[in-house]
Amino acid sequence: MTAPLKDISPAERARSTSFYEASARTRLELLLDAGSFVEFIGPEQREASPHLKIFDLPEQFDDGIIVGHGRLDGSPVFVAAQEGRFMGGAFGEVHGAKLTGLLRAARQIGSIPVLILFDTGGVRLQEANAGELAIAEIMRALMEARSAGVKVIGLIGGRSGCYGGGGLIAGCCSALAVSEPGRIAVSGPEVIETNRGVEEFDSRDRALVWRTMGGKHRRLIGAADVFADDNVQDFREAALELLGLVGPFGLDRLRAEQRRLADRLRSFGGCGDAVDIWTAEGIAHAEAVPELPADQFIALANRIGRTSRDAR
């Protein structure tokens, strides 16, 4: 017989819970110190989308994002978690405003870091203009928070990945952790295929999608700083590691990031496939990377090194 839930330590529960499968609420509960989470604008306040009813669509009481504060290894953190199963975790007016408000609060306080658990397809099409505006407001609030000394860490490993405006916001973060099923991009596979044709990108080729946008590739090209195995405890440890790693932010760092990206484009711009990039990075048997178990991949990624000490 399996042990009843209350006999299992929070760390064991977090270790055995898939980040990908868990709901946003479960992720937060297991990511933070047990019992420390306090929600802002909780579901009982019913701050749902004002737009969805016009389209005769169901609302969610928290509009698909949970914001609040809690503790991570004893230290205070602000947190936001998107629910990728509600409308693909997409940004609407209220959803976006909750994240903007959280980042502004973090800027005002200055010393408390922010963790964003992305799980989003981008802007909610039913509230397109409000959603696009929300993305712009969040990016500004995020950069202002970072300028005020706040560390903003993105954690990406949900079923909707991190696409569209979510990909832009992730690009503004101090550092990112990603798992294999997490994907980071702006245009999604279907969008690219629709606009540029199947020869440019075959969205039905799942191996191609993961090889190009998935967590392993994002870690190897330096778009994400840490690779996490798909469980909540690994993401918790990744968040702690990144909070210790992120240095001060300013113009120098932005210039270093610009140089890093220009170098990356120079080095790999001619590659036709992610496997070519990995080979160019000096990885032997690059074609085997997608099959590597997490521990072997992490060892490989650590040999490649990471970028965030001087850039981002």
């Binding site: 709901s23 609420r25 019992g35 579901p43 009982e44 019913r46 009813k53 005769d56 669509l57 169901p58 609302e59 969610q60 009481f61 629910e83 199963r85 509600f86």
Partner: protein, 105 residues
């Protein structure tokens, strides 16, 4: 969308002291249940907003069975439904009662 409302007289007050709990996600074939301890001990109210039209009789049967089984006195349930099947609805309602009966605030 269709709005439904059910009010029941209940035998006994629901256990626990927690003021509210939430379970589930609004997605296709799924629903969220927000439960709040906000009513007199002998009453139970269920408010439903559902994407599936014309299933009032099924909801009535599922809610009636749930109230009979769990005696959720004093609880108000607010449901956003993405077209869940009756068994999923029963499961979420049972989870909500269990969550609000747990220790905590």
């Amino acid at each position: 969308m269709e709005d439904l409302n059910f009010q029941h007289q209940v035998r006994a007050r629901a256990g626990g002291t927690r003021q509210r709990a939430i379970v589930g996600v609004v997605a296709s074939g799924n629903l969220e249940v927000l439960v709040e301890r906000s009513l007199p001990d002998a009453e139970c109210v269920v408010d439903i907003k559902t994407a599936a039209m014309g299933f009032g009789a099924v909801w009535s049967a599922v809610i009636g069975d749930f109230v009979e089984r769990y005696s959720p006195g004093g609880l108000k349930f607010s449901i956003n439904d993405g077209g869940a099947r009756p068994d999923t609805v029963s499961l979420r309602l049972a989870q909500a009662v269990r969550l609000i009966a747990e220790a905590g605030q």
